[in-house]
């Protein structure tokens, strides 16, 4: 009876259960999972989705800021912005590398982005209308990203964790340069202060939406927490960010555009107003102010770079031939 189909299936089933148990024990013991280790299919696909979304966000995120490089108000500001945008390219590449260790190619990841199958952070679908937006993005968008990335340094997948550690080291300059822009403008002329406040008004809500849907509406969180891919829930991270940021706004005399924002003594945290989830889903689903423009630009750059990639290949081939 040993080799009938039923018994083979049962053996396979037991084997998988055993593997999964060993895997979960490792996770519970805070051991990292490395590329060649056994992992459940769901763990792998969750990671590919999350890491590629993160990588695409870094790359697409270069566009709203790149928009201001040629119009930076001083040489100092221009050098800083260039360095920041270059860092974001680096972050994208660290993350694509981490994602590739899971057995997916860069070409496949780009294809998923271009076909709209992979997402990127919705925040980059908002336009950057004034120089103050460079301040708001560095301060709030990088600020929110830092809160998320600091917690992800402890993610269970080794390559992702190492990428996060490297990224976090580079991020704090991003947030500081943004806050410096905001502080200067908030203490400048009346018009400058108005520009800073306007940028805060436009970027505040999209920034706190960056943490994703409320825990009650985010079905995948359960597994992500069990597998320790995520270490804190969307709502915990969002609260953490708001609690940090309110005092920073007060210090430079700007007002956070939320009439319901109030310190809650009992919770030791700020209560805040209702997030417009309809707007959130609308932008996620492709209908934000810049979705189309961002994706078109990425496709155009990719297509126009084709000859460079081909030339590099042809050159390399010739080199090996001559060796």
């Amino acid at each position: 009876m040993k080799n009938d189909i039923f018994s083979i299936n049962l053996q396979k089933h037991n084997y998988l259960n055993m593997q999964e148990e060993i895997f979960q024990d490792k996770i519970n013991a805070e051991k990292k999972i490395e590329p060649k280790d056994w992992m459940p299919d769901g763990y792998r696909s969750h990671l590919i989705r999350q890491i590629s979304q993160h990588a695409h966000s870094e790359i697409i995120g270069m566009q709203p800021e790149g928009n201001w490089i040629t119009r930076a108000p001083s040489l100092r500001a221009k050098m800083i912005l260039l360095a920041k945008v270059q860092d974001e390219a680096g972050h994208g590449l660290y993350l694509y590398s981490a994602c590739e260790t899971l057995g997916v190619t860069r070409d496949e990841l780009n294809k998923q982005l271009h076909e709209g199958k992979a997402k990127y952070s919705s925040i980059f679908n908002y336009p950057t209308l004034s120089w103050a937006d460079m301040g708001a993005i560095g301060w709030l968008v990088d600020g929110a990203a830092i809160v998320n990335q600091v917690s992800l340094q402890k993610t269970s997948y080794g390559p992702y964790s190492r990428g996060m550690i490297k990224i976090c080291k580079e991020e704090s300059f991003h947030q500081r340069q943004g806050y410096e822009i905001m502080a200067h403008m908030a203490n400048g002329t009346k018009e400058q202060k108005e520009m800073a406040q306007d940028a805060l008004n436009r970027f505040w809500w999209p920034s706190i939406m960056m943490f994703g849907p409320q825990d009650s509406d985010s079905p995948r969180t359960g597994n992500a927490m069990k597998w320790k891919i995520k270490r804190k829930t969307n709502d915990e991270l969002r609260q953490n960010f708001i609690d940090k940021t309110v005092a920073q706004a007060e210090l430079i005399g700007l007002k956070i555009p939320d009439p319901d924002l109030k310190w809650n003594e009992e919770r030791g945290s700020y209560d805040f107003g209702e997030i417009d989830w309809e707007e959130f889903w609308n932008v996620v689903n492709g209908n934000g102010p810049c979705n189309e423009q961002r994706l078109e630009h990425h496709k155009k750059a990719h297509t126009e770079g084709e000859w460079v990639r081909e030339a590099a290949k042809a050159y390399a081939k010739k080199q090996t031939h001559n060796e």
């Binding site: 280790d37 860092d87 680096g90 590739e100 860069r106 490297k166 990639r309 390399a316």
Partner: protein, 94 residues
């Protein structure tokens, strides 16, 4: 022509005198390009004094399934550690 780029693993020596350490990888077609990409990607803040790049396909790795048979034999050789030895009381500088 195969479209996928070649992947190179990157090792950086952070300071003269220290060992090279793995930091990640880059896509590139030839050695020079691999070195330059690694420089741009991994040493934007003076992280290195020397970079090695090696095609990923040339790295040979042990596999997790062999972990026990590969590394366990070292477990029962405690005499390889200095703490294994009984020394007379009062022995110094040893």
């Amino acid at each position: 022509m195969n479209k996928a780029a070649t992947i190179w693993e990157v090792f950086i020596q952070s300071k003269n005198g220290l060992p090279h350490k793995h930091v990640g990888n880059v896509h590139a077609e030839d050695k020079e390009m691999a070195l330059q990409n690694a420089r741009d990607l991994y040493t934007r803040r003076n992280e290195g004094s020397c970079i090695w790049v090696v095609k990923s396909e040339h790295i040979v790795s042990s596999v997790p399934e062999d972990e026990e048979s590969f590394f366990d034999p070292a477990n029962d050789k405690v005499y390889r550690h200095p703490t294994f030895y009984d020394l007379p009381d009062g022995a110094k500088h040893i």
